[in-house]
């Protein structure tokens, strides 16, 4: 696209949505003097099962089912001409995970769009594997038709110089269910917006997340759950750990229960573990309720230091301090990692966390 039909403002840092983000580290993604390109390096790593298709469609004429408000997503829509579409057909149930791999290496700031569409009563697990070095703005639109069930796993295993800003928006249909895992263990700056709205009752979202920030990393998750229909459910559970100088995490959990959303059942939880001085975790749960006719609404946020008593207990059984620390951190993250249900991924992530932890001391 040639002309700038800008309907958004470049953030100044004073906006609520940007006040925690280091704007000088966005790699030009929101800078109009910097040329950006369309990046399409996402591809299935294995052959797709019957009833599942992956294709490129023209952005012109494609109708998104929601209006984005995030600056990076909006700029991506101006830049991207080809959208990747992963479609799971009606009543197709896929048991093996579908892996979509994105290898980094784009030198210029790039944008990409993916749409994941599950037709009625279908079921699938989709794993996005993000590795390498990128400066990437990304939009993923998840459409869950009635009765469908998606497990969505986005793995940010970037190299340490990667910049990744993403909007992952799900629209969950009647009796449909989304289980998501947003896992960030790499990158220089990762800013994710996992957002959810519903289009029918009986729908549910289980949003899980894990982040491990070390020296100088900025890992941000801004969750927004819009309870706009009756009888929908949401659970949010994000766990983070931070170690090293200027390790930084931001977790925002906005849950909005509209007047129409009677019978809503929601709970969100964020836990942070500070492993060393010089690290900082911001955790801001927000709950806005417009109706009292709900099943439940709550949130909890805790940020604590590493428990030295656990370390002592393990050491008193002969376990050296470095192994004891790893064991405790593995234990802390295991709650989320075990839920993923793909042992090869959990083990790979745990190894990466071990490696990152070892580097902190260097």
């Amino acid at each position: 696209m040639s002309t700038l039909t800008t309907n958004y403002l470049t953030p100044t840092g004073r906006e609520e949505a940007w006040r925690f983000t280091p704007l000088h580290r966005l790699g030009g993604l929101l800078d109009f003097d910097v040329a950006v390109i369309e990046g399409q390096s996402l591809a299935p790593t294995n052959s797709l099962p019957a009833g599942v298709t992956f294709s490129a469609i023209a952005a012109d004429g494609f109708e998104s089912e929601y209006q984005p408000s995030d600056a990076a997503v909006i700029r991506g829509r101006e830049v991207v001409s080809q959208i990747s579409l992963l479609k799971v057909g009606k009543e197709i149930e896929v048991s093996d995970p579908i892996f979509l791999q994105r290898q980094g290496g784009e030198n210029s700031p790039s944008f990409s769009r993916l749409v994941i569409s599950l037709e009625p009563h279908s079921r699938a697990t989709v794993v996005i594997e993000n590795q390498g070095s990128v400066t990437l703005g990304e939009e993923i639109e998840i459409r869950l038709s009635a009765g469908s069930n998606l497990t969505f796993i986005s793995l940010q295993e970037w190299e340490r110089d990667a910049i990744h800003m993403a909007g992952h928006h799900a629209i969950i249909g009647k009796d449909a269910a989304l289980t998501s895992f947003e896992i960030s263990v790499g990158g220089s700056l990762v800013r994710l917006l996992p957002t959810v709205e519903y289009s029918g009752p009986g729908s549910s979202a289980q949003l899980n997340g894990l982040y491990f920030a070390t020296n100088g990393q900025h890992l941000e998750n801004r969750i927004h759950v819009d309870h706009n229909v009756p009888l929908a459910k949401s659970r949010v559970n994000y766990k983070g750990a931070l170690a090293g100088e200027n390790a930084r995490s931001v977790w925002i959990g906005d849950v909005y229960i509209r007047a129409a959303a009677e019978g809503t059942d929601t709970y969100e939880l964020n836990r942070n573990l500070l492993l060393s001085d010089g690290a900082r975790a911001d955790s801001v749960p927000n709950l806005e309720i417009e109706t009292g006719e709900i099943v439940g609404a709550g949130h909890a946020s805790t940020t604590g230091r590493f428990d030295d008593e656990q370390l002592f207990y393990l050491q008193s059984r002969g376990v050296p301090a470095d192994i004891a620390r790893k064991l405790v951190i593995r234990g802390y993250f295991s709650e989320i990692l075990n839920l993923i249900g793909i042992p090869s991924i959990s083990e790979r992530l745990m190894d990466r966390i071990d490696t990152e932890l070892e580097k902190v001391g260097e």
């Binding site: 002592f312 050491q315 008193s316 059984r317 376990v319 064991l327 405790v328 234990g331 802390y332």
Partner: protein, 250 residues
């Protein structure tokens, strides 16, 4: 044959505005095969003695020495002490969320023995040890001490004692919070380890109840940060009748 030798041990803890001395010169020698009961009122410093020997960072040793077979224990890290042959069964074992008992035991045994146990024999070894302590097999899959009852925590401590086979074990109020059945099972476990490995035991307790199951060779009365009286098993009987009153009002 091993000897744990504690000489004139002085220990302080940090409090607001400085340090408070808790142990004021403790002398105690424990050899393989000996059971020493350390008895005393609450707040006398018994647990401080246990944790200081194990190396808890909260306690600062300000004087004296602790050696195991002549080697300076105080110069060792916490895990080095355990690998040298010391074991502390804690009064309040710590929960370690997300770490299964089975993983924990294997990691500890690997560290203490210096090599990973053979998978084939290891599973049977753990199963046997758990069975002897009346522990259900499902226990191994639970997270370390998480949601354990008081009795389960203590059995888990003694299970570790059986598997780690230390030279000297310090049992810090292992009897607290146990009903009679659990006390008997736990005590039998301690006695079994002692028979099999000539373990030396420092048995810290407030009450004489556990001494009916674990027979001490020596009884030491602990009060105000030091040992104030020593004797044989008959001293425990005297404490049973008279309590600690005469040692507290000094």
């Amino acid at each position: 044959m091993s000897t744990l030798e504690i000489k004139n041990l002085q220990v302080s803890v940090a409090v607001e505005g400085g340090f408070t001395e808790i142990l004021k010169g403790v002398d105690l020698t424990i050899r393989s095969g000996e059971t020493h009961a350390i008895m005393g009122p609450n707040g006398s410093g018994k647990s401080t003695l246990a944790y200081s020997v194990a190396g808890h960072p909260k306690y600062t040793v300000t004087g004296g020495s602790v050696t195991l077979d002549g080697v300076d224990v105080l110069a060792m890290t916490v895990d080095e002490r355990a690998r040298a042959g010391l074991f502390l069964a804690m009064q309040y074992p710590v929960e370690v969320p997300g770490v299964s008992v089975t993983n924990f035991l294997r990691t500890a045994v690997t560290a203490v023995r210096g090599e990973a146990p053979k998978v084939r024999t290891w599973v049977g070894e753990v199963r046997e040890a758990m069975k002897a302590l009346n522990m259900d097999a499902a226990f191994a899959e639970r997270n370390v001490n998480e949601g354990f009852s008081g009795g389960e925590k203590k059995r888990h401590e003694i299970l570790q004692l059986e598997l780690l086979k230390p030279k000297i074990a310090i049992l810090d109020e292992t009897d607290s919070g146990l009903d009679v059945d659990a006390l008997r099972i736990v005590s039998e476990g301690v006695n079994r380890v002692k028979e099999n490995s000539d373990l030396g035991i420092m048995l810290i307790t407030h009450y004489t109840r556990i001494l009916r199951y674990i027979k001490p060779d020596f009884v030491h009365v602990f009060a105000q940060g030091r040992i104030v009286e020593e004797g044989g098993p008959e001293l425990a009987d005297k404490l049973e009748e008279n309590g600690y009153a005469e040692y507290v009002t000094a």
